[in-house]
Symmetry: C2
Subunit: 438 residues, 2 copies
């Protein structure tokens, strides 16, 4: 990767010229949204570049792909020596507002970390039947809710809902008491497929535009109660505690899902490709890949409690722990004829590694709240109001991307001042509190 650019990029930037992730941004609050590419501390405004005619020139015809084209632009005298175009097209990242990078039609979440599946199995069924045999035959997944997927930085309000009743009382109703994060990444579908026309697993990579980081917020107590009628053999044998499998089924109990604003292309990740784990038993022919690829991306979750100056690392995992590859996930998704559309999102599921320090959610890290995590003074079993959850991913060579996610003070315990600070969503909830039905 000998690429260089006239744009100065600090060595520890998440956005060197080798990365060039795509996003949607507004340079000013009143600007219309537009596509951009991150380079160092700048966002290259693709709409401005496009209007300038640079894309009409010899670059386009001489480039293998759009990414290479952008490398050329960033490295090229046309832009370097045109101060007016530079000023218009390179916007300081600190000044822009990032938006959701895609219009998500359907959102699917997989369950592809064996360590995660095993931990949940041990927790709720015991070590002898930790993983069901068909987990090894196909990449299990569920449909999720698209409308509540938000971009990094969007405030999350603790959801309300029903929880298990105690004895003969009516069910609990109120704010969730077992809020959790889930460390995930997600593939963004590029070209889709027609209804009735499955995608060959060896061509599945051509249907993936790139990857984002994802936090699949989960309210484990609400899930536990709501899920029961659909999982008829779970019954009440787990008591009032959350059951991880609920996460995978009682889906709308997950209040929302957060993704990073920048999509890193598979091209940019290619230098970090590595072998995927050996699959035993061998997958059926429609899932057997000629080249089975994972990516070496270190993933980290930090929690910063309200009022505490520093955040604490609570887990360190890696994308390469996935048993099923994203290409197998995509091929399996379409094997029944299901059509994917551009912008569809395929989450990996919680990415846990083999070590306790690499588990991808608090449910696993605190073993369903049985032990607490130490956060430089504070302790946590589940998320508390005001917690900030920070998920980052980086390759061996450079940090790829990062995102911050506020977990604001819960509305019931927040002061008025904080509520105003948290703006629209919180304001809406204030209205509801005045409503007698809540």
């Amino acid at each position: 990767m000998a690429l260089k650019s006239f744009i100065e990029v600090s060595p520890d930037s998440h956005f060197p010229i080798q990365n060039l992730p795509f996003g949607i941004f507004k340079p000013e609050p009143a600007s219309p949204p537009r596509p951009g590419v991150a380079i160092g501390d700048y966002v290259l405004d693709l709409s401005t570049i496009s209007v300038s005619g640079i894309f009409d020139g010899p670059f386009l015809s001489g480039s293998d792909c759009f990414l290479q084209l952008l490398c050329d632009v960033a490295d090229e005298a046309t832009l370097r020596d045109n101060p007016s175009l530079r000023e218009k097209s390179l916007v300081p990242m600190s000044k822009v507002e990032m938006l959701l990078p895609i219009a998500i039609g359907d959102y699917t979440d997989f369950f592809s970390s064996m360590h995660h599946a095993r931990n949940c199995g041990i927790m709720f069924r015991g070590p002898e039947n930790a993983i069901n045999p068909n987990w090894f035959q196909l990449p299990i997944a569920y449909h999720g809710r698209s409308s509540s997927i938000v971009v990094s930085g969007t405030k999350i309000i603790r959801p309300r809902g029903q929880g298990h009743p105690s004895g003969n009382s009516p069910p609990y109703f109120g704010p969730s008491r077992k809020l959790d994060f889930e460390l995930e990444m997600a593939a963004v579908v590029g070209p889709g497929n027609e209804l009735g026309k499955p995608v060959d697993v060896n061509e599945a990579g051509d249907h993936i535009f790139g990857l984002v980081l994802m936090n699949d917020w989960s309210a484990r107590d609400i899930q536990a109660w709501e899920y029961v009628p659909l999982g008829p053999f779970l019954g009440k044998s787990f008591g009032k505690d959350g059951n991880l499998f609920h996460v995978l089924n009682a889906l709308w109990l997950i209040w929302g899902t957060t993704i990073s604003p920048w999509i890193v292309t598979l091209d940019a990740l290619e230098p970090f490709a590595c072998n995927s784990p050996k699959q035993d038993p061998q997958p059926l022919p429609y899932l057997a890949e000629k080249i089975s690829k994972n990516y070496d991306i270190s993933l980290e979750v930090q929690i910063k409690p309200a009022g505490q100056e520093d955040s604490c690392v609570v887990t360190s995992s890696n994308f390469n722990h996935l048993y099923w590859t994203v290409t197998q996930q995509l091929a399996h998704h379409t094997i029944n004829g299901c059509n994917l559309r551009p912008g569809d999102l395929l989450g990996t599921g919680t990415i846990s590694g083999p070590e306790p320090e690499s588990y991808g959610c608090l449910l696993e890290l605190t073993w369903n709240g049985q032990k607490s995590l130490s956060l430089k003074g504070a302790t946590r079993r589940f998320l508390e109001d005001g917690d900030e959850v920070i998920i980052s991913g980086c390759s061996k060579v450079f940090s790829l991307f990062t995102f911050l996610k506020h977990f604001p003070k819960h509305i019931f315990t927040s002061s008025h001042k904080e509520l105003i600070h948290l703006c629209r969503i919180i304001s809406s909830s204030i209205e509801q509190l005045q409503n007698p039905f809540l």
Copy 2:
């Protein structure tokens, strides 16, 4: 309902002036899609009417609602005495192509018929624990796939997928052997709600534009195998047979969902409103309605085997069998802050009545294939290639709407001629058959 129109409507038409359902249609194959309203054997082209200026006149200001406005238009001299406008705006229904009436963002399917829940419970858990207690506390549901929702008349190809292995063999892979229909209706969301702002159950009706008929095609054998890892206590105790609860969880195994092209507004259904069943235990305050309404809509499913002249009624149910109302479903959906958007679809779940003749799917009607249904000579346990499934709904006074759904011959058994007749989707699959990975 003393409404009359200058447009002649036969007494048994599904589309009298009291109904006036909305849809999207193309008058000619090359026309752009446009909104329309069905009146008798005609579609009133709203785009033509809008351009004509009728909507700008005194009608709009004098009408309480758009539906009333349309009644006025259909009854009005302006249109009646303007032959040129009449000819342009009233298109014979036999000539138009109906399209999916909405752009569906998210699709949610509920599980709100107690008889359906009980039958499944008895079938798979025995009569003593047929319905879990929390079923009576909240309207259970799951997220479904939006992209594969198609309009009535779209051909369905039998999906392929994995099924339970026999003994130590690898899993079955091939066309589903347990295809089923599910008799449902679905609410189309009109105005949505903001993220974080639940909808009051007493205002939920204002968020529903209208209802459609729905067939939630289900491949019960594929579901049974795929679901197991997510429902950790089901294991293999059900053997190779489908488990209804799989339908509710392993969602993308459901290949597609079909809806009727016409949306009947709640206004049009108001004359058929009736009391909903008494709910015991009393729902929590956020689900308690001042007026709890169902609608008296007779629902019928017919199957017409290929080559057989007549279709046979296989079940007769009614929308009023729903335990949870559509307004309770909508309010519950948003209680955690989840945002609904215009065009979102909320399925009722299979609508089964108390009598065996009113069960809403073959799983119940044949008790998971244990007995067969007689269809004037033919018999069925599950759907066979070439079956046509016809779902219709009607009120006491007039038939509201109807739709036809082809279940074409399975591709592997079809002749080339039939494949061409079935056009695009089938053609796509032919390509795949040439692909070695299948």
